[in-house]
């Protein structure tokens, strides 16, 4: 039987394309076949154009044949979350307000993927403007979990996580403001990385909460995630918050192991989980210990305040970031009898309920007379969380915890209860507030057959160590647990 290119990891696939064992067109045909098979039931994509894809593939094939320099991702399919702008595909952020909008430029990450020879296969579904934890808030469609079609894939990068889990793409980009890469990765049984704030350029990422947003990779393996992060992790002069200097190498960390790494389990993070998830975290800890890591529990009380601080800061920034959708220059416009009327009708019709809820929350939090009470206090809390984490990192190299308190929940189960929905992010939000990196690694299945993810957290720029430990956890899962692939 012939090898399906989609069964390969990105590393082997680009190698096979370079050595002309597989053509990019063959890769694309496999992607199209897989999308035809799985997409009707999963609905991961907002934009997928097979013909345009075949054209791009033949251009790449000619380059390979002519022996031109092609990058490290040559022929590798990458699905891109639809809140990153693409000049050759529409970009909607899953909102009606951007329906039909064609950006005149590419996001820096998209440019980097194209420069590396990667194939942007399509744009994936998300909660509108990345606001949500289930991808149910999309204005266009509800994405389903490839492991169980009655369950959510998580969110907001649910389309990207589902596409990778269902092998409709090998790699994907997500964005993570409060857990939006890690939580869907966990629920779909794939690897998701939220890098240090400023590690990956935000230029071209449609802003939700600018001080928290960060783009990162979603992949089936830790090595593929490392490869993609090496490609997109570049200093970008177009993003003033981009970290200066070279990014470290990550793929080479595969064989480093965890010998004598000090790993802490944050008790406040495991306390809020289902028993099954908690047990799996302790199992991971025990296995890491067997490989030579020093594991201990540690308390960081401030992380329990993360959710409250987050739901002031993120909506506050969002209320400002979303002001530009006024119907004047791009996207949806609903006419009105006056200027105010036009603004009002456009935004009333263009935004969904969750987006409106957060705009109102944020506007209120920033209002004069309430600023100190809400926004000011949330900023102070954010500082406290960061300081407490850094205190903990004096004794530990990395922290271990759950990614999501539970496995995937049913579609519709929490959509009418915002607070229950917000609780999904309780384990992931602290890293965003601190600006720190974190990785979610699949760690087997629960009794209901759904994937469980565990999370590794580290201080600023600890990506090499995080990957080192993630590689080990991936090996441990393979040796000790059922395959979590969909």
């Amino acid at each position: 039987m012939e090898v399906n290119p989609l069964d390969l990891d990105a590393y082997s696939l680009s190698g096979a394309v370079l050595s002309k064992e597989i053509s990019v067109s063959e890769v694309v045909r496999s992607v199209i076949a897989q999308v035809e098979l799985r997409e009707p039931s999963i609905s991961a994509f907002l934009h997928f154009d097979p013909e345009a894809l075949l054209e791009k593939a033949s251009v790449l094939d000619e380059k390979v044949l002519r022996g031109e320099t092609v990058g490290r991702l040559v022929g590798v399919p990458v699905a891109v979350k639809d809140n990153m702008v693409t000049s050759d595909m529409p970009t909607t952020a899953a909102s009606k307000i951007l329906e039909g909008w064609r950006p005149p430029y590419d996001a820096t990450v998209v440019e980097l993927i194209k420069d590396a020879g990667g194939l942007v296969v399509g744009k994936t579904n998300l909660d509108e403007f990345a606001m949500g934890s289930s991808t149910e808030n999309s204005a266009y469609k509800v994405t389903r979990n490839p492991h169980d079609l009655s369950k959510v894939p998580g969110g907001s990068s649910g389309g990207s996580a589902a596409a990778v889990a269902a092998r409709m793409s090998i790699l994907a980009l997500g964005s993570d403001t409060g857990g939006s890469i890690r939580q869907p990765a966990s629920l779909c049984g794939v690897v998701g990385v939220k890098p240090t704030y400023g590690y990956v350029s935000r230029y071209g990422l449609i802003a939700f909460a600018s001080s928290l947003d960060q783009i990162g990779p979603i992949a089936r393996t830790v090595k593929d995630a490392a490869l993609l992060l090496e490609v997109i992790g570049e200093r970008d002069p177009k993003d003033s918050t981009s970290i200066l200097g070279e990014r470290p190498k990550l793929v080479e960390r595969e064989a480093f192991g965890v010998e004598s790494l000090r790993i802490g389990i944050v008790s406040e993070l495991v306390d809020n989980c289902s028993t099954e998830v908690r047990d799996r975290v302790f199992m991971a800890a025990r296995l890491l210990e067997e490989r030579g890591a020093k594991v201990d529990t540690v308390s960081a009380k401030a992380v329990t305040l993360g959710l409250s601080a987050y739901y002031v800061i993120a909506p506050a920034e969002a209320s400002s970031n979303l002001s530009r959708y006024d119907g004047v220059r791009f996207g949806l416009r609903k006419d009105g009898s006056s200027l105010t009327d036009m603004f009002f009708s456009t935004r009333t019709e263009g935004f969904g309920d969750e987006v409106k809820r957060r705009i109102m929350l944020g506007t209120y939090a920033l209002s004069s007379g309430y600023y100190d009470q809400y926004y000011g206090k949330a900023l102070a809390t954010r500082g406290l969380i960061r300081r407490q984490f850094n205190e903990v990192y004096k004794d530990f190299d990395l922290l271990l915890g759950p990614t999501s308190p539970t496995t995937a929940f049913a579609i519709g189960e929490k959509s009418n209860d915002p607070m229950a929905m917000y609780m999904n992010d309780i384990c992931t939000i602290p890293s965003n507030l601190a600006g720190h990196p974190a990785v979610s690694i699949p760690f087997g299945l629960a009794d209901n057959g759904l994937p469980i993810g565990v999370q590794l957290l580290g201080p600023d720029m600890s990506e090499p160590l995080l990957f080192q430990a993630a590689f080990e956890l991936e090996r441990l899962a393979k040796e000790n647990l059922e395959d979590a692939r969909a």
Binding site: M84, V85, T91, A93, L98, W101, P103, P104, Y105, A107, R202, Y203, G204, L205, I206, A207, A209, S210, S211, P237, K238, D239, S240, T241, A316, E317, S319, S320, L322, S323, R324, D326, V328, R329, F330, S338, L339, F343, T363, L366, S367, S368, Y371, Y375
Partner: protein, 490 residues
């Protein structure tokens, strides 16, 4: 400046029914940079609408601002020239909806501006405090079409985003201004500073320099600060003076009938010569300022600041000081004020530096050069100095020097050729004396009165001599001769 029909007279203090004016000015100046504040689009006035735009200054989704370093340099220059403290600063978002504001917020500076706590000394000696001078971005330009100039009554509106993202510095004065004339003096002096620094072209009518006035009044002698109104749409120095005068009187009249003004923004109506309420209270904006997360704090090093300081040479204050020092105590303040003009100053400065008498250099600059500079295609610093030297060496008379100076600016010929062509050789002193004697002989009755001590007739005789010599006589020789003749005849 034409006189307004209001009672206020330029150059006088303002006092109305026992109340004095308390005015603070906010001056927005567009900075002369090649590119915009946060993107690389051209910062140019008068181009085809919406051609100097890109995803960043159009506020398209996903774009981010990158601070223009030149703007920081120019802003620091302004701060140093206004004696401000230059500090670590941050950017904030000022949130409000308007079609000319692409992102729905303006990136500005709020609680930590780059420059604060300075002052500007006016030529009159009055010192006006500078509260802050901060960096912010300009908006686009909106034009309401059809029917009326106001948006709600127009048929449609056009927006030009060429101006969106153009760098501005907002300079906020303390409420240290107490008359419309002082306000005018402040703006003129500040404009002089900005133009001398090369940071702004200072054109009020084109909007590259925009002034808003915060006006209140208080009983003379009190130190309280009462409710102020912000006056917008002051497009000329004349509107500035009239609007402040009008608004001050409006406040006084309200207080006199036991009423009081409300804090609001008002619009100067040039046609009707009055201010009108611009926004009702219900529409008062809450700008929801918060720290701009897309930009880092701005922390210029001491070395960077000192480097900029060393580039500042020609502010009006420094120019004035140079001229007054050169004059060594001689009083020529009116001419000095004229000579420090941006275009004139290089001439007077160079002339003094190469040894021309400061008195002569300043007089010729402030009087003759000022009158001709707007149409002086053949003027150069060298030619200017050449004429002054001829006059100083008494090769030509002062009146010939004036004629020559004018000709030198307009004729593409060497100075000596122009002298020959216009026959501007000074008359021989002996010749002059004989002309004087002729004139005296021709006017016996005037001469008799002059002998009786009517000194004002000196001018009469000098004029006659000049007429007869075609301006070639040296005035001082004429006067000397007249005095000698008077001594002889009396």
């Amino acid at each position: 400046m034409p006189r307004s029909n209001t009672a206020y007279e330029i150059g006088t203090p303002w006092l109305y029914e026992g109340y004095e004016l308390v005015v603070g000015l906010e001056v927005h100046t567009e900075l002369k940079t090649r590119s915009k504040l946060f993107c690389s689009c051209a910062n140019e006035f008068g181009n085809i609408p919406n051609t100097n735009v890109c995803p960043v200054c159009l506020g398209l989704p996903g774009t981010l601002p990158v601070l223009n370093k030149t703007v920081v340099e120019l802003a620091i220059k302004i701060g140093l020239a206004l004696n401000c403290e230059v500090r670590k600063s941050t950017f904030h978002r000022k949130n409000y909806f308007y079609p000319d504001l692409p992102k729905g917020y303006q990136i500005s500076q709020y609680d930590l501006p780059i420059n604060s706590d300075g002052y500007l000394d006016l030529p009159s000696g009055h010192r006006v405090g500078i509260v802050r001078a901060h960096i912010e971005e300009d908006t686009g330009k909106i034009t309401h079409m059809g029917l009326s100039g106001r948006m709600d009554k127009s048929a449609y509106s056009l927006i030009d985003y060429n101006r969106a993202g153009v760098p501005l510095t907002e300079i906020v004065s303390a409420p240290d201004i107490h008359s419309p004339d002082q306000a005018r003096e402040y703006v003129v002096e500040l404009r002089g500073v900005l133009m001398a620094l090369g940071v702004s072209d200072g054109r009020m009518e084109e909007g590259s320099l925009r002034v808003d006035a915060n006006v209140s009044v208080r009983p003379m002698g009190s130190s309280e600060l009462r409710t102020r109104c912000e006056i917008k749409n002051l497009n000329s120095l004349r509107s500035l003076v009239r609007a402040i005068d009008y608004e001050g009187k409006r406040h006084v009249k309200l207080y006199m009938r036991d009423d009081a003004p409300i804090q609001e923004t008002r619009h100067w109506d040039e046609a009707r010569q009055r201010t009108d309420s611009l926004r009702s209270k219900e529409e008062a904006n809450d700008y929801r300022y918060f720290l701009e997360p897309d930009l880092k704090a701005l922390a210029p090093t001491e070395g960077f600041i000192r480097g900029i300081e060393s580039q500042i040479v020609d502010t009006p204050k420094l120019k004035r000081a140079f001229l007054n020092e050169s004059l060594a105590g001689e009083e020529m303040s009116d001419q000095v004020e004229k000579a420090i003009d941006l275009e004139l100053y290089p001439y007077v400065k160079h002339a003094i530096e190469v040894g021309v008498s400061p008195r002569l250099a300043i007089a010729r600059t402030a009087n003759e050069l000022a009158a001709t500079i707007s149409d002086a295609p053949y003027l150069s610093i060298e030619r200017f100095v050449e004429v002054l030297r001829l006059e100083e060496d008494k090769e030509i008379s002062p009146s010939q020097a004036k004629v020559l100076l004018n000709a030198v600016t307009k004729r593409d010929e060497s100075v000596s050729d122009i002298i020959s062509a216009l026959d501007l050789k000074k008359a021989d002193d002996g010749e002059t004396r004989s002309v004087v004697e002729t004139v005296v002989a021709q006017s016996p009755s005037e001469w008799a009165r002059f002998l009786e001590g009517q000194d004002q007739l000196m001018g009469f005789f000098v004029g006659k001599v000049m007429k007869l010599t075609g301006g070639k006589a040296d005035g001082s020789v004429v006067k000397d001769t007249l005095l000698q003749l008077r001594q002889r005849d009396s």
